[in-house]
Amino acid sequence: MEHINIKIGGQAGYGVMVTGKMIAKACMRQGWSVFCYTEYPSLIRGGHNTYQVYANKEKAYSQRGDIQVLIALDEETIKENGKEVIDGGIIIYDSSSVNLKDKRGDVEYIDVPMIEMSKEVHGTDLMKDTAALGAVLALYQIHFVTIEDIIKDAFKIKDEEIIKQNIEVARKGYEYITQKTKTKFLNIKLNKIEGIERILITGNEAIGLGALASGCKFYVAYPMTPATAILHFMAANARDYDLVVKQAEDEISVINMAIGASFTGVRSMCATSGGGFALMNETIGFAAISETPLVIVEAQRTGPATGLPTWSGQGELLYAIHASHGEFLRVVIAPGDAEESYEATIHAFNLADKYQLPVILLTDKYNAESPCSVEPFSTKNVKIDRGQMISQKELDKIKDFKRYQLTPSGISPRSIPGQKNGVYQANSDEHDEYGYSTEEVDMRNKMMEKRYGKLAALKKDMPEPKIYGNEKAKKTILCWGSTKLTALEALKDLDDVRVVHMQYMNPFPVEFIKKNIDPKTTIIIEGNQTAQLQQLIRQQTGMLIEKTLLKYDGRPFYPEEIIKALK
């Protein structure tokens, strides 16, 4: 399988992210499928940043370990990532800033005077990363015009001069490879595959687009990696898409505002990571008891506490399912990739409205911040289901409106402020059918049963886990959320293995697991220490799946690790 695998590394502020993205776009615009993986510490300047671009003519699901070309904008990159380069691979560096100590014999080192190239054109070394862009793409024999277009688009908001200078620096890097070095070109050519149009998008952006498509009109958040980009996306689009985006004073305010807007009848959403989600906990139950629809995005990073703020993990599955005191029904969806993030967001809004309960979208840094190429999202099939919102006409006919009327389905029609005859109390205390506080035994039980009674219908609205690969394969990889990405990449190299991916985590698909999973031939792969999916399956089905592959160092799985575990 022909693929491209490039990594660029350097300090924060060196343009690693911008250049990485341009490399990714070059591959994507040539019609290749792309997955990018970024690593960065919780710092604004300095530290070690990397951007990896993996491109494949077939679908690129995740990053891979076999780096073909490493662009080292500093020495740290050689030290940290030099060993990832494959035999016969290339390391691009600049000897004026990087001292090579222990050279590997099986790797070709190309000294490109990137700093000098930048200085010649721009007067400073700021454009050295653009020289690297030209150089690396020259190695894959791409036409320079493609690079030119990408630079023009990337710096669109900057002035003409900056664009011109960047193109000039890129050309220097490009020509250095094509004219001044004697390197054997890599035998992989980034040739154009016609007729494919894709966008390069992260899980966060996919959620943002899903929210816009769903008619989310109120978005509220407090910045927290890795959910922050949703705030940026929504804020940038607020005026064009006619919604209000609010940065609140803390996550407690965030969720309470989201509920306030939803109470008013507006579709609202909020997003955070584990720490902010912890602050929201008490209020999740308020959404539940007051039956106010709510969509919360919880993008996991690596805890406990501040943990590894810019790294990934899946340590909050059981937490998301149980968060907040008391017992109540909620939906937890863990989309596995950007496409599922888009679809799940649209579904989350519909479920929240239809069942009048909190829906948690559980993502993680890996899915949330990894750019990948997908077909542009369409809204053609988006259906908006607002559930049982009562009309003024219907209210006019009712003398005695009961917002929390006891119904067989547990769902009661909802009025909104401004509607005549529809007044009610959305009460955080236990309440009667009008919303008035009550501590009476019979009503308490009835209300608990009404709210939980929605489970019967809700279950039917929960899509089943998906099976990838040969359905009858001997071995099964069972995973949830973003681990799907690496599992599917690994699957390409595995025989007689299938992947079962769980996205809808709560309510739990008991029947499906009982029917489709044989614990003896299954391995659970998840990004946490205590095998939370394993625990959950045991709790829900009694089934113990003993074999696991776990990881809790903040790094995603690599296909190579999964392949090894299955051999």
Binding site: L200, S253, G260, T264, V266, Q419, D429
Partner: protein, 288 residues
């Protein structure tokens, strides 16, 4: 409209507050103010805290978001942003909810100038939890949690509102229903964030700040030549805490509200916007 009366603001529940509690007259004043302004129950949204004061959620008719302890402000702000057509939004809190656990929300609500009235029932004690010290309890006062005297200085709500850029700051007293009613009307009419702190004697747990204690000290700013248009003067009034306690509007300023700055809200309210048939082309442009 003409048959609008306070009965419409009553519910099937009768107040359960202690006889003589300052919450009773506040509830009466709220109902009267709304009727005087010709606002019907379905045109108003109330948000409540948890505390004795907020049991009022069961005695007041209207659209009510009865939130968690200390969290009555954030939903009120969002309700206003989501539906600017509502004729009034009143957020209620106790001094514990408002100036203890939820004080952060207060400061930020002040500076946002979102068009709501924030009415704090200031009884200088934790009522519902049976009498502990509160952020507005006087220094030295003995409560169940400070049996040897409260060692902390109290929060000064109007001063805090002023320093946080609130555009309407007032003080009321549960023992002056008519005056309080007119303050509530003014606060509702004020375009922007209005904070009305109301002295609300807790007859059961606060044996210091009683109705009589207040009656000896309060006076009405309207009966003096005070003009509420000068922040420095308002600041001095807010710190009149010993012999004399001013009631009335301490400060008032016309300023653009949060909504005025959002073109998205220039016409229809968020809740009126049509959903569906969204074209994502523009939002996806930069990802090509």
């Amino acid at each position: 409209m003409s048959d609008l009366n306070v009965k419409q603001y009553e519910t099937c529940n009768s107040p359960t507050w202690c006889p003589g509690c300052g919450n009773n007259p506040i509830l009466i004043a709220v109902r009267k103010a709304l009727v005087n302004l010709g606002i019907e129950p379905h045109e108003v949204a109330f948000t409540f805290d948890i505390g004795c004061n907020s049991n009022g959620a069961n005695f007041l008719n209207g659209y009510i978001c009865h939130a968690l302890h200390g969290r009555s402000l954030p939903p009120a702000e969002a309700i206003r942003l989501a539906n600017h057509n509502l004729k009034a939004i009143i957020s209620f809190a106790g001094d514990g909810g408002g100036f203890g656990i939820g004080i952060g929300h207060f400061i930020h609500a002040c500076r946002r100038n979102i068009d709501i009235l924030y009415l704090t029932h200031d009884n200088q004690i934790y009522g519902l939890t049976t009498g502990q010290t509160s952020p507005t309890s006087s220094k030295g006062v003995k409560t169940k949690s400070t049996p040897f005297g409260n060692p902390e200085e109290p929060v000064n709500p109007p001063a805090l509102a002023l320093s946080s850029s609130a555009t309407w700051v007032a003080r009321g007293f549960a023992g002056e229903i008519n005056h309080l009613t007119s303050l509530i009307e003014k606060g509702i009419k004020h375009p922007g964030f209005a904070h009305l702190d109301v002295f609300q004697p807790c007859v059961t747990f606060n044996k210091l700040n009683t109705f009589d204690w207040f009656r000896k000290r309060v006076y009405k700013l309207e009966e003096t030549d005070y003009k509420p248009n000068d922040k420095k003067k308002a600041w001095s009034k807010a710190w009149e805490l010993d012999e004399k306690l001013p009631l009335g509007v301490l400060y008032e300023e016309k300023k653009e509200t949060y909504k005025d700055q959002l073109p998205q809200l220039a016409n229809e309210a968020l809740v009126e916007k049509k959903l569906g048939s969204v074209d994502l082309t523009k939002a996806m442009e930069e990802y090509k």
